[in-house]
């Protein structure tokens, strides 16, 4: 067991993040180029099915640790276990999806293993037996090639940057069970609770994103209920605007994004912010409604495949990046657009 190329399967309460499977696909490609095989690494509680799925997606075998102390992600028990496994088996490479958890885990493992992490990688090549990764820096304003001279090379892969492999239900492989290395009494950090995020599609995994900016509150024709302060009236208007944005997103099975101006004005929570200090996204379709296209916003969505801009101002910089542009009021355009797409998509 334990091949030279490892993939860490990140999950949230037993549900794998899609980029974990993309990472399995990348691991297969690396195995073809470097020689060797792919081992999936799965930690959690009640997560055996993830080990099986990883094999179906292309891993040759899996290492599985299931324990109550691993039920929720925590850096201490997860990193201690990953490090001890890596010390025992000396993999060449460990791949992770780029998630909040994996940034943490890879960071700590790199310290313990005296190696480095290539973070949020969007392309990989093997040149002369060495892995050369490409990653965006300055929020995608530049690209850098990066290499790591020590082993294992730890690499986190950006979601949606690599294709998701097809699962093959006939594939099988060994699942080797391992025990955690830290007991609960040796772990300083205790999980005391959980609050669910808002439901819906996660921005970084979404194939379609419809985003709203400051323009979503700009509809003087809407009459807010009596008794609201000026600020409350603005937020009320913005909620009507975001409702239209949300309806379009829902029809397209997409997620709702926002500019920082919309977030700062209190129209929508920060979790929706796209841009240099928000989320960097790369959907197939990005529809920007009432967003001017400041450089910090563009940094977060410029690699989207098709960009559509709906804006009243024909001079808005967002149009320079857009495949399709509509100069108009989003309150006029969005309702018939949602209707037209609903009809065409048979929803």
């Amino acid at each position: 067991m334990a091949k030279n190329i490892w993939v860490y399967i990140d999950h949230f309460k037993g549900q794998a993040v899609p980029a974990s499977w993309e990472a399995v696909g990348v691991a297969r490609t690396l195995a073809a180029e470097l020689g060797g095989g792919v081992t999936a690494v799965v930690f959690g509680d009640g997560v055996e099915s993830l080990a099986r799925q990883a094999i179906q997606f292309g891993a040759d075998d899996a290492v599985l640790a299931e324990d109550a102390s691993l039920a929720d992600y925590r850096a201490e028990p997860y990193a201690a276990l990953l490090t001890s496994l890596a010390q025992e088996h000396s993999p060449q490479v460990v791949l992770f999806p780029t998630t909040a958890r994996c940034r943490d885990l890879a960071a700590v493992a790199a310290v313990d293993l005296n190696t480095g992490v290539l973070v949020d990688v969007t392309a990989l090549e093997v040149a002369g037996g060495k892995i050369v990764a490409t990653r965006p820096i300055y929020a995608g304003k530049l690209l850098a090639k990066v290499t790591c001279a020590a082993e294992p090379v730890l690499i986190t892969l950006r979601g949606r940057a690599f294709p998701k492999p097809e699962a093959d239900e006939a594939r099988s492989g060994d699942i080797v069970r391992v025990e955690p290395v830290l007991g609960e009494d040796e772990i300083a950090v205790k999980v005391t609770g959980y609050s669910e995020g808002e439901g819906g599609v996660s921005l970084t995994d979404a194939a379609v994103i419809v985003s709203g900016g400051r323009g979503v509150s700009n509809n003087p024709n809407l009459q807010p209920p009596d008794g609201l302060s000026e600020e409350e009236q603005e937020i009320w208007r913005a909620q009507q605007g975001f409702k239209l944005v949300g309806e379009l997103a829902a029809i397209l099975g997409g997620a709702v994004g926002a500019s920082r101006a919309a977030v700062d004005a209190g129209y929508i929570p920060y979790a929706h912010q796209v841009g240099q200090t928000g989320k960097v996204v790369s959907p197939d379709l990005y529809i920007a409604c009432g967003i001017s296209g400041a450089i910090q916003h563009l940094a977060g969505m410029r690699t989207s495949k098709v960009i559509v801009a709906i804006n009243k101002d024909p001079e808005a910089p967002i149009f320079k990046l857009a495949r399709f542009g509509v100069v108009g009021d989003l309150f006029d355009i969005l309702p018939p657009l949602t209707e037209a797409l609903k009809e065409r998509l048979g929803k």
């Binding site: 005296n114 690209l143 090639k145 200090t277 495949r323 018939p336």
Partner: protein, 258 residues
Amino acid sequence: MLKIVVCVKQVPDTAAQVVVENGQVSWGDAPLVINPWDEFAVEAALQMAQEHGGTVTALSLGKEGETEALKHALAMGCKEAVLVSDPALASLDNVAAARVLAAAIQNIGDVDVVFFGRQAVDSDTGMLPAQVARVLGWPALTQSASVTVLDDGGVQVERDLGEGRQQVTAPLPAVISVTKDIGEPRYPSFMGIRKAARAQIPVWGLAELGLEAPAVVVSWPELMNPPKREVTTEMIEGDSPQEIAEKLADKLLAEKVL
């Protein structure tokens, strides 16, 4: 009295057009500023010091004279600032930088909490908080949206993990990285700005830290400008919103992105 440290980095303004020229990163004449995430870290540190009694020291690792971030932190209200700088530390990777920052934190001595920003907007890695914690052997509470000091001397934070928020507790000393939800960073006061302008910021090199230059394993053989986005923008026009919407819907289906 809590002894609090906040780690801050000097970066080019986010409005800068960053390009590669002759293999070097250039941001033209854009100003250098405190990493925007680190303003939230300074805010969190100052709040904790105000509520529970304590002092905040801002710490930055950078080249000679890279004191913009430290001055901003002082202007916001930090009591002291330290720049770690040494010609032997010109190009570090994350783990190496973490070892140096950890040594500086040990050199400050008796530290209870170290705050970090979520991520540096130039290198975009978000690795240092967890790594510094690991080198120090302290718990790392990364991506914290709120921080509460508990009566037993520990801390409770709410970590934003994307899908939801995980509430965790840990004993001090600990490392905490914060997100925007911690609260709007305060503006520097007039007095703060004056104090920052006059401050003599001590510089610690490897000798002061009693450290040898740590090994660097990650290298950046090539920097590139991203491929130009080749788009021909097609403006959709029509006599009514309905007509525009119908046309746009057809175009989107034809692009095969739905």
